[in-house]
Amino acid sequence: MQQEKSSPDTARKKRIALSANSGKKAQKANHSTHPIVQLQNVKRIYTLGENKIYALNGVSFAIKKGDFVTIMGSSGSGKSTLLNMIGCLDLPSSGKVKVNNVDLSKLDDDGLTAIRRNNIGFIFQQFNLIPTLTALENVEIPMIFNGESPARRRKKALAMLKNADLPLEYANHKPNEMSGGQQQRVAIARALANNPPILLADEPTGNLDTKTGHNIMELLKELNAAGTTVIVVTHDPKLEEYAHTTIRIQDGEIIE
């Protein structure tokens, strides 16, 4: 079963914010010849004893640069697996995943690491900050792996935290000294540290109250308006209103 969703025409909302205060250089959102993320007949099969479980069963779609996409589905529908494929955390059993027109199946571990480091920013439901490090240091981590100098990455991390609307006094706090919303802001700042063109979010509001969740989604919207392609995986229909495009997935197959 294949479906292709190529244009965000049906999106409920299309807002291009002029975020001059974002500090981040806007990347050209359109006019690109190839989609930034492309999946072709992707299958992911787990074997449990003699049973084969199809987490993804032939999924195909493309996401345009600068799009804001939500992938909706109930738990166990395969939506997280899908996100992990795009984020180079998991590899398909068959089919092709292309990020920035690079076929992931042709990359070795170092190649996948490079994609994760420079093209993808990950936001998790559990925030997943390193507990021993302060907010600022957490944001520095991806830049360390990218070989940035200490002075530069410190400066940049502060700018990123400011960009994510974290009050400056929290920069030197450890994760357990911050609220969930603040932690997620740190996580977003970290995801953007190496200026990736793609931001992946797995239930980013799942551990937050409604108001904080809304604020976080507004932040993602702002970032998207500044040029970042945002892909959010969720089961919460309320998040749909922020997106240009929605992909619905059920039992490993796209239904809309």
Partner: protein
């Protein structure tokens, strides 16, 4: 200088180092326990090394004359070294001095009030000038040629409670003690400590039928490196037809002593290294536990762009930190502890602050670091190979 600056810059600015530090602090009790293992290992290795080394130093020191001397003595079946042979030795080059020695074993007596002290000694006939090259005076002066004066060794004076000016008797001949020698320890040339030295005239009067030759000739060479060549030349000249003399190079004993004590040191350090092996296993255990505990963190790091090499570096740095800290502590404790033990038990710490002893400390230090690195290697490798998704999902 530049390097240390660079190193400190790396340590202060490097987040890997910072991470390693914090991760070690996070489980401080466990870190300390693992460090104690390494510390004990380092102490065991280096103190065993120092023990062996001190043993060697004290034994070699008691052989006072080891080094630049050759002892020429009559071969089996020969009674004396003749004047002719001494003349032949004189023709050999690279010789500093030649000291012909005549000696006889003797029981001497000394009467004080009603008691008679007796002692078995070696009576020597060595020229005064030559004697000065071999021994040092503790008290008094050397004998004058032709006099009835004598100089006695340290043990002789000590055993018989002799003081300067007193008279000892050899076969009813009285000799006046004018000098007492410094203690010198065992020797291959002459038995200084149990010796009685007197003038040639006196010696010939005591032993009139022993003027055919000498009991041994001590040859001092100019340059220690030439000692084998000199020894060969003497043998060549004198032992042309028959084996008339034996030449004994005193440095031979140093070589074999070195061998023996190297084996002893190695054996002792082998025992010490068992504890380091145990320490290595405990490091392995500690690091393995912390990789398990931090599986999720490793997953996060990988998700945000850490390569295998980055993860490997992080964990190895942690092991290195642990190793360096514990080994430094071990080295300091070893030096401090050895100093204390030597000061209290032997009251002599000179053996500790020698290059060879310090080398053993350095050896322990580096073995300590190497052990923790080896112990940390497998866990680091394992962490670096984790699949990011599995690691991320680990709870």
């Amino acid at each position: 200088m530049k390097l240390t600056k660079k190193l400190s810059a790396i340590l202060s600015n490097n987040m890997y180092a910072e991470l390693a530090k914090r991760n070690l602090k996070r489980q401080s009790v466990r870190t300390v326990l693992a460090a104690i293992g390494i510390i004990i290992g380092v102490i065991a290795i280096s103190s065993m090394g120092i023990l062996g080394n001190s043993l060697k130093l004290s034994v070699t020191e008691s052989f006072a004359d080891i080094g630049d001397k050759l002892i020429v003595s009559p071969a089996l079946g020969e009674d004396y070294i003749t004047d002719k042979q001494v003349d032949q030795i004189r023709k050999v080059s690279n010789i500093e001095s030649i000291i012909p020695v005549s000696t006889s074993g003797e029981v001497i007596e000394y009467r004080e009030g009603g008691t008679t002290y007796q002692s078995y000694v070696s009576v020597y006939d060595i020229e005064k000038e030559d004697l000065e090259k071999l021994v040092e005076l503790e008290d008094g002066r050397f004998f004058k040629p032709g006099s009835t004066d004598c100089v006695v060794g340290y043990s002789v004076a000590d055993n018989m409670e002799l003081t300067l000016g007193q008279k000892i008797e050899i076969d009813d001949t009285k000799l006046r003690v004018v000098g007492i020698l410094k203690e010198r320890g065992m020797g291959f040339d002459i038995s200084t400590d149990s010796g009685v030295f007197t003038s040639s005239e006196m010696y010939n009067k005591l032993y009139p039928d022993e003027d055919e030759g000498y009991d041994e000739v001590i040859v001092i060479v100019k340059d220690l490196d030439e000692i084998d060549a000199v020894s060969d030349e003497i043998e060549e000249r004198i032992n042309k037809k028959d084996e008339l003399v034996t030449v004994f190079a005193t440095n031979m004993i140093t070589d074999s002593l070195d061998d023996v004590f190297r084996s002893i040191s190695l054996f002792l350090m082998g025992i010490g290294s068992i504890s380091l092996l145990v320490a290595g296993v405990s490091i392995l255990n500690v690091m393995l536990m912390s990789t398990m505990e931090r599986t999720k963190e490793i997953g996060i790091m990988k998700a945000v762009g850490a390569s295998r090499k980055d993860i490997l570096k992080m964990f190895l740095l942690e092991a290195l930190f642990l190793g360096v800290l514990a080994s430094t502590a071990g080295a300091i404790l070893t030096i401090g502890g050895s100093y204390l033990v030597m000061e209290l038990l032997v009251k002599n710490t000179s053996y500790l602050f020698t290059i060879s002893s310090m080398l053993y400390v350095a050896e322990g230090f580096f073995f300590g670091i190497a052990t923790s690195l080896v112990g940390g290697m497998y866990p680091a490798w394992k962490a670096s190979r984790m699949k990011p998704l599995d690691a991320l999902r680990y709870e």
